[in-house]
Symmetry: D2
Subunit: 136 residues, 4 copies
């Protein structure tokens, strides 16, 4: 029902010799964005790890529509696109002002930190995800 | 008709606190892999840029099947999956020994370096791509 | 006479398998910190580049006193330690709460963007640097 | 009495918008270089970690003499500059052909992986380091 926004300032190190943000670095921005979403929802990822849950990425996808440049102040927006079984699909969009530059998603898998086995989404996470769900 | 392989040693800096290679870093390995493919085909990307052609990424996709770890010696394999109009689709697979860890692709767009306009794949690139094409 | 502070949230991608921020990544934080210092002083680095001045790094030094961890909210503090001839020495300190984790400096050289020749610090930069100078 | 060399191909992701390798990335090359030195000496760092020894960095220093560019094939050379008490100082030099581009060092501290306490250099490491020592 909701999405969350955070901001990110592009550093010199984020750019490549084409003069724009290097394409792999957007996946790190995706991670920043979903981390902020989880934190603001009251379920920080750091805490989930402490509670024994890790969320490795099974799949990532990125569509590049326009380039971010050095020193741009970007807006990162994430929401839960799907949460069922053992997997969470989290979508992220990256904007400069009102312009959508990059969009994509990751599919995360719930894994028990000790046993490294795949598990169903824990109830306390599922409940939160249903709140974070966003109908496109 | 052919694919190309190169190798990559995982550095400490590639890992994250889960003890495995951070998911965004595989996209940099994809870039390394396709760069080696182009070089070995006699068409180094550095030379393409000097000839006025740049190849920004329009789309990237990654499926994570298993984790690479610190100090692993990975095999990177790339081939041209499609070349038509203004776009090239290049697939990459990452192996440790015979195990496939990560696979995915990028879609690149041919752009004139000066005008920054999208152009059709130049003939000298198209001919090379047809050689590099690989039927799955 | 003054120093400037900004904040930075440690991402998952910043960490390595020791569970702490990878040592090379602090140099990117140094860059973020001095960029914010310059921006807040009214002399954004992006604008300096547009005016034809680039500031490549000639020397960098880092002392690691304690480790930053995932999700830490760090405070970055920079000041001009020296500005004479063609070089600027900018010191940076990284804190978590009141604890100093990392400190170091970079020496930057003023270079004409077109000719790539070393030049004296331009007057408009020198004046700003004298304001930013901080006696330890 | 000896130094070790390895090679590294500069990727697109290593560069920044100045068209050269971003300054922080050389520290990752330093790590690659000393890892190869340790491996070739018969003492791989991965094995040291498995034996319960970690080597966090206490200090790093880098002098930038000239720039590495995209697609350059660099030569990385490392040697043990000092090994006493609990610390190892390892020097690294980065060359393109015969030209020295960057040189520097790191100071590493021997730490027990379990207790996280600083310890003296273990004998099996000390013996190896004395072999790797290089009088400048």
């Amino acid at each position: 029902m909701a999405y969350f926004e955070s901001t990110y300032r592009v550093s010199y190190g984020d750019t490549d010799q084409m003069g724009v943000v290097y394409y792999a670095n957007y996946l790190e921005l995706f991670e920043r964005s979903r981390t902020e979403m989880l934190r603001e929802s009251g379920l920080p990822y750091r805490k989930m790890e402490e509670m024994g849950l890790i969320l490795p990425v099974r799949e990532a996808h990125c569509d590049y529509l326009a380039s971010a440049e050095y020193d741009d102040l970007l807006t990162l927006r994430s929401y839960v696109a799907e949460a069922k079984g053992a997997t969470l699909k989290i979508a992220t969009e990256i904007y400069r002002d009102k312009q959508l530059l990059v969009k994509g998603y990751v599919v995360l898998v719930c894994v028990n930190r000790e046993t490294r086995k795949v598990i169903r989404i824990p109830d306390y996470v599922k409940a939160k995800c249903d709140e974070l769900k966003f109908e496109e």
